[in-house]
Amino acid sequence: MAKPKLALYWAASCGGCEIAVVDIEEHLLEVAEFFDIVFWPCVMDFKYADIEAMEDTSIDITLFNGGIRTSENEHLAKLLRAKSKVLVAFGSCAQEGCIPGLANAYDKKGIYEFVYGTSPSVEEQSKYTFPVTCTEMPEGEIDIPEFRETLQPLDKVVDVDYYVPGCPPQSNQILIVLQTVMAIISEGKELPPRGTILGAGEKTCCDECPRERKEKKIKEFFRPHEIIPREDECLLDQGILCMGPATRSGCGALCVQANVPCRGCYGAPVHVRDQGAKMISALASVLEAETPEETRQIISKISDPLGSFYRFSLAASTFCRVQLSGNGRNE
């Protein structure tokens, strides 16, 4: 029997998800033994043409990490969707945009102006030199992918079968997912229902957090560098903005165990559509304020609420992006 085919691809991502896959260590050999890896540009030399030449649905499973930022990302997403039986949005970027999705606070123009114009790292002579998708050269026409206005998670562009959350997904969870997939294939078992979130828990990060929680009453917020948090007490109780209450479990509460607040990379918990809205809901219940003025006083110490509540999920949030022009724009 021919080996099942596996593909891995990275779109707009940092590459951390690829490292996380390699981090399953010696188990990678089992995976390589079981699967025929047909596409993994980060690790081996493959050409897009190889994939284009394949028959539709000939790849058994594709782990796709990264969001859709450019026309190339979109092309590959559509191509791999057509060629794969199962397409997995792998990691926070593919699932909900992640850190690259924070660029949705701007548009293409704003990003270009900063990156190629005002950014201090741009050399004087090349300031405001913007990339163009198509250039005439003596050798002929050359082109680069087109940069899109808005970063989109994978499922806004193509149908996605399963999701593996995390920035990056924890290696122990990746291993569980891969072993489950291998068991399903080799024993001919039925696949889980479409849209299932694999490699994560059903509760919130707080469920895995070892810190002691008391009745919360927040009088003041602190940024992590402003205080030294007590090691055994809930960080939110101590006034450090921790996304735990609005984040899916599955990571093993690693950050909080290192005295760092949860930033929300495992995405919204079960039945929650908008992570930031859920965090607002959670925070509003525990602020010690009886009047709007007192509330404003306390929340004024949250620097960048949007970036804190939607650090990983802005591109998949209700609004998807920040409104930049037109009516309703807040000047």
Binding site: I280, L306, N330
Partner: protein
């Protein structure tokens, strides 16, 4: 000539009718709005009321969803402080609204599109007045044409 101009002006003001979603608590504000109705008071027809058991039941995601689906303004109305049927639901609402306003602003949506009001079951007049006030406020802000990509 004057007539034509008047007609044009009428047509202009007619072009935008704000769509407003109002989440109202079962115990006070909804009854207040109901009282305005049975007392035959005039109130703004732009308001679409959704009854909730408590203003504290209104999750921020409901508000975001209303805007997403085309509301130009959202109002949350509940009992006055101390009157909440569930003791402190309205305090939570107040804090939520403050946080939401902060965030809406960052999303590039004018915070005046979200309004919080305390309306008791007997304050039919207040409901009627607020409904017009808010409608005019949103009309002034114009349609909220959200862009998603």
């Amino acid at each position: 000539m004057n007539e034509i101009m008047q007609k044009e002006k009428q047509a202009e003001t007619k072009t935008f009718e704000p769509r407003i979603v109002a989440f109202m608590c079962n115990w006070c504000s909804y009854s207040g709005a109901d009282l305005a109705g049975v007392s035959r008071m005039k109130s703004s027809p732009n308001i679409r009321i959704i009854r909730a058991m408590c203003s504290g039941r209104v999750d921020p995601s409901f508000v975001l969803r209303a805007f997403e689906l085309g509301a130009d303004g959202v109002m949350i109305a509940g009992c006055h402080y101390g009157d909440c049927h569930y003791i402190e639901g309205n305090f939570k609402t107040m804090r939520r609204v403050e946080l939401m306003k902060l965030m809406l602003q960052q999303f590039g949506i004018d915070k005046r599109r979200l309004r919080l009001e305390w309306i008791s079951a007997s304050e039919a007049e207040k409901y009627a007045q607020v409904s017009f006030e808010f409608t005019e406020q949103v009309r002034e802000l114009g349609p909220l044409n959200l862009r998603f990509n």
